[in-house]
């Protein structure tokens, strides 16, 4: 796989008892690019092992490299160790974003394996993918597609970053409209790769005729991911207090409006505030988060390491949104430094910016909110779970993730692990056994 920017994705197999030179060069048209010996990430391929007879040394590989100053041409030749291993006379060069998605999708062969046998590969591949991701991100632009501004000044700014589908947005805004107006809160919607944007804009115009909320919509030229989308929203915010809200967050259907009103209007000070989140059926899904580590092993290679995982407090408890008593739920988070899910956050813009905003080095999404929380805590700020604030989180369930998504989750987890494996806020495995 080759991008028009020279990103190269190589995958295949080799009998490493026979071949030990992995010097790569590629010919694109009449230009030859020497890539030196880029890192090959090896993994066991039983189908290959069966054929070549080597069950000990991994034979499958993935390599992501970069050729400089590529002049596009339809003819491609790839040499490894001096041997021509691949040629294509009618090559279709991919744009970087397509390359990224397809290369990530192809990596699912590794991402789908137990993390113990693939963590080193993920940590090795991450920088190459992060480089492509950064270049893709840098090319993104945002367009102001809709603006309905009623207030001279906004006290708070709700930022809703949407990926692809906005089918819950109107329902969500209907549920919040009255409180948005009453608390002087603007809404900034950031659309990543939004489908049906024209229709949405038309519908939002009609919505604002009935609910005169202060609303602006920005459309990204592609998918800027969760962090960059929200960071952009924050850059456009007129309110000092930012409320980051997923498009699937709703107040309880019997709520009298006080949940949104109180959450929007209460100043979080220098802390980051989260809330109690419940599933659509009313059971608790989130009362804070912590990060812990698992030991991962690969007996074949003798590899042993730790990999980080983020856990939600409250998941699996039988506490219902209508239950008044939260003491048992909050027992686990009492006096503990916790993280909170970015599905719903409230933070002063000044604090958000001081921490540097959401980290954009996580590819598309996942683990960035935990990273931000850890940065915040390590920077001396507090995180507060506002247990008086209860919201429904219609988190999609039962849908299979696309291969590319499984891969970037895998890479982001490896990156998160590398960054925080020695952090003092990581909960030890022993404590994790009872923490819920």
């Amino acid at each position: 796989m080759l991008s028009d920017q020279g990103d190269v994705y190589l995958a295949g197999w080799a009998d490493r008892r026979v071949i030990d030179n992995f010097r790569v060069s590629i010919e694109i048209g009449y230009m030859r690019h020497e890539l030196g010996e880029p890192e090959f990430y090896w993994y066991h391929r039983s189908d290959v092992a069966e054929v070549i007879g080597d069950t000990e040394c991994p034979s499958g590989f993935i390599c992501v490299a970069k050729a400089q100053s590529v002049i596009p041409h339809s003819k491609l030749r790839v040499y490894v160790g001096g041997y021509l291993v691949y040629q294509e006379n009618a090559l279709r060069l991919k744009s970087p974003s397509k390359f990224l998605n397809e290369a990530l999708g192809a990596c699912a062969v590794l991402a789908d394996r137990p993390i113990g046998s693939t963590l080193p590969q993920a940590q090795g591949l991450y920088p190459a993918f992060a480089g492509v991701w950064r270049r893709v991100l840098d090319k993104m632009t945002f367009l102001n597609a809709f603006s309905h501004q009623k207030m001279e000044k906004a006290k708070q700014s709700v930022i809703i970053t949407i990926y692809r589908r906005a089918d819950m947005l109107l329902i969500q805004l209907s549920a919040l409209a009255k409180e948005l107006i009453e608390t002087g809160t603007e809404v900034i919607v950031v659309g990543n790769d939004l489908q049906g944007a024209d229709m949405l804009i038309e519908q939002l115009g009609a919505f604002c005729q009935i609910h005169p909320i202060d609303l602006s919509v920005w459309l990204c030229s592609g998918n800027s991911g969760f962090s960059a989308g929200n960071n952009f929203g924050a850059s456009k915010a007129r309110g000092e207090i930012l409320v980051f809200m997923n498009p699937d967050i709703f107040p309880h259907e019997h709520d009298d409006g006080s949940t949104a009103k109180n959450f929007f209007a209460k100043d979080p000070g220098n802390a980051l505030h989260g809330a109690l989140l419940y599933y659509g059926d009313g059971l608790l899904m989130h009362s804070g988060m912590y990060t812990t580590s698992d030991v991962v092993i690969d007996a074949a290679s003798g590899y042993r390491n730790e990999v980080l995982r983020v856990e939600h407090f409250g998941k699996g408890l039988s506490h219902h949104i209508d239950d008044l008593d939260t003491s048992a739920v909050l027992q686990a988070v009492h006096d503990r430094k916790i993280l909170v899910s970015a599905a719903l956050w409230k933070i002063r813009n000044s604090v958000f910016q001081k921490v540097g905003g959401l980290p954009e080095d996580y590819i598309f999404a996942y683990y960035e909110d935990a990273d931000f929380c850890l940065q915040l805590l390590n920077g001396g700020y507090d995180i507060v779970l506002d247990s008086t604030s209860r919201w429904l989180h219609m988190e999609g369930v039962g849908k299979e993730m696309a291969p590319a998504v499984r891969s970037f989750m895998w890479l982001n987890r490896a990156h998160y692990t590398q960054r925080y494996c020695n952090d003092k806020l990581v909960v030890d495995a022993e404590t994790d056994l009872t923490l819920i």
Binding site: F207, I210, G280, D281
Partner: protein, 428 residues
């Protein structure tokens, strides 16, 4: 009093039960001294472009003063919302110009649930009533509460159960759908249900029982004065009147008739349109039954009918069978049969069970039970005394005038306080 009826379609655009009820009430209201009646019919402008005018959201219905058409270009058939800027402007102006005291919504399809909220915002003191013609708010499956996959009435409308009928739509989406309807219904002052059954399902779903009044759909009699019912020589002609679709249970009737024909001659007349909407499986089942046609079984597919000729057509059968397998909300065909003095044999599905008292004004059977129905058919064939007794005991459905008066009582019972209005104005 200005009385605005908001309907799904208009009988002149597309015939159907809900639009007939709405139009009948509108016509009756228009004849009432002191009532200024206006009708706004919301239609699919893509299906009936002849009623739309470019750039105009609301147009008049030719030769019908005080009757208007709102031809929509799009409609979200899951959440039942439209959100159209041009339409909102026109509607706001229409409401301000018409200044109705009462708005009577008859549907959400092509009406759009946000219309209710818009009406409340524009006219904070307007009295809003809403007739629940079927279970559309509860059930995304054609509003029928019928599980096509299981061929059974749906008795549990929890979001996870909806997901069984629509595996591609998540429970959360169904939760939000319910929430969207319930939110819009908060702006309604009072609901009207044509049957106790339908009311009970909506109470179970979340509407306060005190906010729903049961008013039967009024019926305009076609029976001439002094007219006497007659029957066939063998009293063995059974008629089906309704749509030729799965939930109407024609297959149940035909299976029962086939069983009866093993012993005695029987004739079935099917008056039903919209066969194109029946599933292939359903048509296959019917073809299979018909393939075993015996000499004793005569089946005639007559085609569609209208209420202009239903009285005459019903006079060509001895008995009317309503074999519905979905919980009918009212059963207009029963009113028509009573008008034509035809005893009704109906399944105990939904509102039908309230109207047909077994052995008193007809017979009833378990929905889908061809065996039970066949026993009833056998008992009816040639039983002249039974037929006469049922015909004599038969009472007509309430007239339109009575139904309209009952609606007026509902309107009078609505008290909108100044406080309620102020609250809404503040939130504008």
């Amino acid at each position: 009093m200005k009385y605005l009826t908001v309907a799904l379609y208009h009988p002149r655009v597309l015939r159907g039960g809900a639009q007939y009820v709405a139009k009948d009430l509108h016509d009756t209201a228009a004849k009432t001294p002191g009532v200024d009646a206006v009708l706004l019919a919301c239609i699919d402008g893509n299906m009936f472009p002849q009623y739309g005018k470019v750039g105009a959201s609301i147009t008049s219905l030719p030769d019908s003063p005080n009757e208007f058409i709102m031809a929509g270009q799009r409609f979200d058939d899951f959440y039942h919302v439209v959100y159209d800027k041009r339409r909102n402007k026109a509607l706001t102006r229409f409401l301000l110009d018409q200044k109705p005291d009462v708005i009577h919504f008859h549907h959400s399809l092509w009406v759009g649930l946000e219309f209710i909220e818009l009406a409340r915002k524009v006219l904070p003191n307007v009295k809003i009533i809403y007739t629940l013609h079927e279970y559309m708010a509860i059930c995304h499956s054609r509003g029928q509460l019928f599980r096509y996959g299981e061929s059974s009435i749906c008795l549990d409308s929890s979001p996870d159960q909806c997901n069984k009928c629509f595996p591609g739509i998540s429970s959360d989406d169904f939760y939000l759908r319910r929430r969207t309807f319930q939110r819009a219904f908060r702006f309604v002052d009072h609901f009207v249900s044509p049957s106790e059954y339908l009311k009970s399902r909506f109470v179970e779903w979340g509407i306060d029982a005190e906010k729903i009044t049961v008013i039967h759909n009024g019926h305009q009699p076609s029976r001439p004065k002094g007219w006497q019912p007659t029957h066939s020589n063998d009293l063995n002609v059974f008629g089906f009147f309704g749509q030729f679709v799965d939930a109407k249970g024609i297959d149940v009737l035909l299976k029962a008739a086939a069983l009866v024909s093993q012993e005695t001659p029987v004739e079935i007349k099917i008056f039903g349109g919209n066969k194109q909407y029946a599933s292939a499986d359903y048509i296959g089942r019917i073809d299979h039954i018909l393939s075993g046609n015996t000499e004793n079984l005569k089946i005639t597919e007559v085609g569609s009918y209208s209420r202009n000729n239903v009285f005459d057509l019903m006079s060509t059968v001895d008995w009317v069978v309503v074999p519905s397998v979905w919980p009918e909300t009212f059963g207009l065909v029963v009113s028509e049969a009573w008008d034509a003095k035809r005893p009704v044999i109906a399944s105990r599905a939904g509102g039908l069970s309230e109207r047909i008292k077994d052995g008193t004004n007809g017979f009833s059977f378990l929905p889908g039970s061809d065996l039970q129905l066949s026993s009833i058919l056998k008992n009816c064939i040639g039983n002249f005394d039974l037929w006469r007794t049922l015909v004599d005991k038969m009472k007509d459905e309430v007239t339109l005038d009575i139904a309209w008066k009952q609606h007026l009582q509902v309107v009078k019972g609505i008290r909108r306080t100044a406080g309620q209005a102020d609250q809404l104005v503040e939130s504008k």
